[in-house]
């Protein structure tokens, strides 16, 4: 069990009296192993351990009578710092509607997130309109319409139009109907699919969303950095949503994505029901990754 593993590593560090540089290097090799097992990206784990090592080799730590405690503190502080100091907040338009856009790889949880975000925003006294801009996946529009019925939140969809037109037309609809927030549900796509990535940037260009989200599966492994970086290159998104964190995945992807793109993790998906959207807490995520 990974929780016990890092606890064991950290106890060993804490339990030692004076530490030599070799002790520190050995312990940090163990920490790197724990991070990799938690799905933290290879390069990110390497950099992280290197920076902890540099801080740990400072005279203050080596001369301390409880150097182990200091190193553990450095590890937790460094990890929490990397995860983002605090949750970034949503941008709202001066003149409604405010536009939100959910993007990401196939099956990451975008459509479910759109429902969750709509419910959350209605709870904040907004009037949301969800937009079915996935015209590819079988019954994707049915899925969003069903969610709209379950939540009693309107869904905009159009036959025979492309996603750019659908998103554009939805804004006009929102203005007519008094919906002050519009949320685009887009089709899952590969970051290496040029045509599909181009479609996303065309939606962005035409509709100028105030908040673009990269919705990532919390169980993603080493590939997290590639997709997150490519989506950011195409869209310069505003924030990341990490889904399916109600499982036992360690969530190293959170650290990888934040470290490499610098974009804040704004929400965490903690279930299949629509009231399971949570704010991201960097310190809680750090504890989870470290087990």
């Amino acid at each position: 069990d990974l929780t016990r593993k890092l606890d064991h590593v950290l106890k060993k560090i804490k339990g030692q009296g004076k530490l030599s540089e070799k002790n520190i290097a050995d312990s940090l090799r163990e920490v790197r192993k724990v991070l990799l097992e938690a799905d933290v990206n290879y390069k990110v784990a390497k950099e992280f351990v290197k920076s902890v090592q540099e801080k740990s080799l400072g005279q203050a730590v080596l001369k301390s009578i409880t150097p182990g405690q200091q190193i553990v503190k450095i590890i937790y502080d460094e990890l929490t710092r990397l995860m983002g100091q605090s949750t970034a907040s949503l941008r709202f338009a001066n003149i409604p509607p405010t536009i939100f856009m959910a993007t990401g790889l196939q099956g990451s949880g975008k459509t479910t997130f759109v429902g969750k975000l709509a419910l959350y925003l209605r709870g904040q006294k907004h009037s949301p309109l969800m937009v079915a801009a996935d015209i590819y996946r079988p019954a994707a529009i049915d899925q969003l319409k069903t969610i709209g019925k379950q939540l009693n939140i309107p869904v905009f969809s159009e036959d025979g139009k492309n996603p750019i037109q659908i998103c554009w037309d939805s804004i006009q609809q929102a203005r007519q109907n008094g919906n002050d927030v519009v949320i685009f549900d887009t089709a899952g796509r590969l970051h290496i699919d040029e045509n599909m990535m181009k479609e996303l940037s065309e939606i962005k260009e035409k509709t100028k969303p105030h908040n673009i989200f990269f919705v990532a599966d919390g169980m993603t492994g080493q590939d997290a950095v590639k997709a997150a970086t490519e989506f950011n290159n195409w869209l310069a998104y505003d924030g990341v949503v990490l889904t399916k964190m109600d499982g036992d995945a360690r969530g190293g992807a959170a650290l990888s994505i934040k470290a490499v793109t610098g974009k804040p993790i704004m929400f965490v998906g903690m279930g299949e029901k629509f009231n399971t959207l949570e704010q991201f807490h960097p310190d809680r995520m750090a504890s989870r990754i470290l087990g």
Binding site: L36, Y42, I192, R250, E272
Partner: protein, 285 residues
């Protein structure tokens, strides 16, 4: 790494990075690197084989007896000789179960087999509508109940229909569920019991669908699903992306569960039989 001929520490570091970033997992990678170091010491500096080939050999020996089990016999899968041949498809949320069922049904149809599909996901919005479209595309019969119905009841009806209509194959879709949710895993056990009561050998195949982008959690998923409902094989999807899915090597090594198919896209033809040698080669491409 390609073209290098000596196993110095710099090369080993480069190899470590390639292996870890393909999601093979630290323990397995460490084991591999140790074998490489031993090999370099034994053979010395005149190792002339390509590093790539050495890696392949060592990977295959680490997986030794599992390599045989992993040789997926595609021909016999699609010509099972038992009627109805019952396949249950399980896995966590969003991995590609429903889409994979469409692809499998299509393959059976191409072999001249008749197929019936059961909409065992009665929970998620749009689930049966989505599966219905795949049934139509593949020319398969389709059994569904209303949303929120008991999945066991759907499977009961579908199995009876499969027998009554003399269908060759029944494929059962189930709702995505995290392996940590005890009540949902119990539900899966119950669905399986419904089948076994009607046909003792059913389900003949229980396939776990894993997403190639998922990291080490795939091992936990495989363990839990195997323990609770039994698994005969894995389908590894989304290999048309950049993720390598290396975690299946650890699953093969530690749990002995073979990958039978891989998903290479969102279209009905985007399914291929798993080949271990091709897979290992792709890790280094």
């Amino acid at each position: 790494v390609t073209g290098k001929k000596t196993l110095d520490e710099e090369t080993l570091d480069a190899i470590e990075e390639i292996l870890i970033t393909s999601d093979i997992g630290v323990e397995t990678v460490m084991e591999l690197l140790e074998r490489l170091r031993k090999r370099a010491r034994i053979k010395g500096e005149d190792e002339t084989a390509e590093i790539q080939d050495i890696m392949r050999q060592e990977l295959k020996s680490v997986l030794s007896d599992q390599v045989e089990r992993s040789a997926s016999d595609e021909k016999s899968f699609f010509n099972p000789g038992v009627t109805p041949f019952v396949i249950m498809v399980v896995g966590v949320n969003g991995t590609g179960k429903t889409t994979t069922i469409g692809k499998l049904a299509h393959r059976f149809r191409k072999e001249g087999k008749s197929v019936i599909i059961a909409a065992g996901d009665t929970f998620r919005a749009g689930a049966s509508e989505q599966l219905n479209i795949w049934a139509e595309r593949s020319g398969s019969d389709f059994v569904r109940h209303q949303a929120g119905a008991d999945p066991g009841a759907v499977v009961f009806d579908a199995l009876n229909a499969a027998v009554a209509r003399r269908k060759d194959v029944l494929i059962v879709d189930t709702a995505g569920r995290l392996h940590t949710k005890v009540n949902l895993m119990e539900e899966l056990k119950k669905i399986r019991r419904v089948m076994t009561k009607l046909i003792p050998e059913a389900p003949h195949e229980t396939l776990l669908v894993l997403d190639a982008t998922t990291g080490q959690n795939s091992i936990r998923q495989a363990e839990q699903f195997r323990d609770i409902v039994g698994l005969t094989g894995i389908v590894l999807t989304k290999l048309d992306g950049t993720a390598k899915g290396g975690v299946v090597l650890t699953i093969l090594k530690e749990l002995g569960i073979p990958v039978k198919f891989i998903g290479l896209g969102e279209g009905i033809e985007d399914l291929a039989a798993f080949d271990l040698n091709t897979f290992i080669d792709a890790l280094f491409s």
